[in-house]
Symmetry: C2
Subunit: 233 residues, 2 copies
C-alpha cells in the first residue's frame, strides 16, 4: 500500500500534500481525480481520501475515513547519541529505530565526537519515509545537535528515567532490567566512548550507568539494540 504524508489538514476535511508528495502522486503514480489514496498525518492516524485536485505542486484530497494506526505503546524512548564519523551510520540507525518505534532522537557533541554535525533535513526525510514504509504512524521528534553539557542541562528537570550507556567497567544496570513501561532517555557516546568527566556529569544529573551486554557495540548498534529491546516489552 502506497502511503502519502499529509502536509496541511484543513477544518473542511481536505488534506494538502507537499510539492514533493504531490509530484510523486500525479507524475510517478499517475493518480487521477476521484482516485482513493492513503494519507498519514504523522501523529498516529491513517486517512482514506479521495483525490480532488491533481496539481503536481499541491494535490488536494477529501477525507473519506480515518483510522488510528499507531500501535499501543506503554513506553516512550528518547535516544540521545553522538554523531558518528560516517554519517551513513547515524542515518541507518535512525531509519531502523524509527521503524522500531523510537519517539525522539537527540544529537550531542562530546569531547571524542569526530564529526560534530548531522544533516537534520535529511534525517527528517528518512524518518518520514520509514514511518510511511512501516505504517508506523507517528513521526519521531528529531532535535538538532547541541553540546553534551547543554543536552544534560536541557533535560535536567524532565520526568524521564535517564541512562548513560558508557563502556567503562563499573557496576551498571542491565538493559533487560529497565524494560518496563516508562519514559526513558538513553545516552549513547561516540566511537571513542564518553570521557570520565562526561560520565561524572551525567551521573551527577540523575543518569544511571547502563550495560548493553558483554560485547562492545558500535555507536549506532548501541542505539539500535536499545530500540529493539524496548519494542519487545
Amino acid at each position: 500500500m502506497q502511503i502519502f504524508l499529509g502536509l496541511v489538514f484543513n477544518p473542511d476535511d481536505s488534506i494538502l500534500l507537499s510539492p514533493e508528495e504531490s509530484k510523486h502522486c500525479v507524475k510517478v503514480l499517475r493518480k487521477k481525480a476521484g482516485d482513493i489514496i492513503h494519507i498519514i498525518d504523522g501523529k498516529g492516524n491513517l486517512f482514506e481520501a479521495k483525490l480532488i485536485e491533481t496539481d503536481p505542486a499541491a494535490c488536494k484530497a477529501i477525507i473519506v475515513s480515518k483510522k488510528q494506526i499507531a500501535p499501543t505503546k506503554n513506553y516512550r524512548l528518547h535516544i540521545a547519541i553522538s554523531p558518528t564519523k560516517n554519517p551513513d551510520r547515524i542515518e541507518w540507525m535512525l531509519e531502523k529505530c524509527t521503524e522500531m518505534g523510537v519517539d525522539e532522537f537527540s544529537f550531542f557533541v562530546c569531547k571524542r565526537t569526530e564529526k560534530p554535525t548531522v544533516k537534520l533535513e535529511r534525517l527528517q526525510k528518512i524518518a518520514e519515509s520509514a514511518v510511511k514504509q512501516s505504517i508506523q504512524g507517528i513521526i519521531p521528534v528529531i532535535n538538532n545537535v547541541v553540546s553534551f553539557k547543554e543536552f544534560i542541562s536541557l533535560h535536567k528537570n524532565t520526568g524521564e528515567k535517564k541512562y548513560i550507556a558508557h563502556c567503562i567497567d563499573e557496576t551498571k544496570t542491565e538493559l533487560k532490567n529497565i524494560l518496563v513501561p516508562s519514559k526513558n532517555i538513553i545516552l549513547v557516546g561516540p566511537e571513542g566512548d564518553f570521557t570520565e568527566d562526561e560520565i561524572k556529569l551525567a551521573l551527577e544529573n540523575n543518569y544511571s550507568a547502563l550495560s548493553l551486554g558483554e560485547t562492545r557495540l558500535r555507536t549506532e548498534t548501541a542505539g539500535l539494540f536499545a530500540a529493539a529491546a524496548f519494542k519487545i516489552i
Copy 2:
C-alpha cells in the same frame, strides 16, 4: 585496541596473518619485530602475541598468552533471509547482527525476491571486521544463496526450533515468547513477503508462524530485531 584475525595457528604456538592483515600490520600500523599484537582466531579466543616476522605478505607472531573472550551465550540463532533489492541493506544487517552475536546466516531466493544474489566474499569480510571491532570472538557461519525449497529441505532434520516471520494476518507466536535458551532458525522473507505456498511449505516442515509486532518491518530490520531480542535473553 587493534585486533588482527589470525590465518594459520601452528602447533609450535606461532600464528600467521593473512597477506591483507600483514600489510595492515606493518605498512599502516608500522608494527616492528618484538611488538606485542592482539590476534583472534574467530572461534572465541584472543591471543597476545609477539611479532617475530614482519613480512608485509605474511607476518608471524608467537603466542604469549591466550584468553577466551566469546561471551557465554545460552542460545544459538540462525537467521535465514531473502537478499534485498539494495545489497547495502543485507550487508548492514549482517554487520549489526554479527555485533549482536548471531551465529549463522543463510540466504534463500523466494518467488518475490527481487535480486537473487549476495556478495558472499564481501559479507565474510564485513563479518570478520565486525567481530574484530566488537571483540565478539566468534565469526558467524555464512552460507551461500539457495532456493527457498532447498533451504527448507536442507534443514529438515536438524534439532533447531524453527520460525517463519511472515506478514499475513493469522495466529502467530509472539517473539517475546520464544526468547528462551534454545537453538533457533528464523526465516525472514523478501520486501514483498513470502507467498502463501512458501508459508504452507514452511508450516508443513515444522516451522511456526512468528510475529515481530504490530508494525511492518523492512526485511533487514526484521533480522536485526530478532537478533537484538535474543541478545537480551
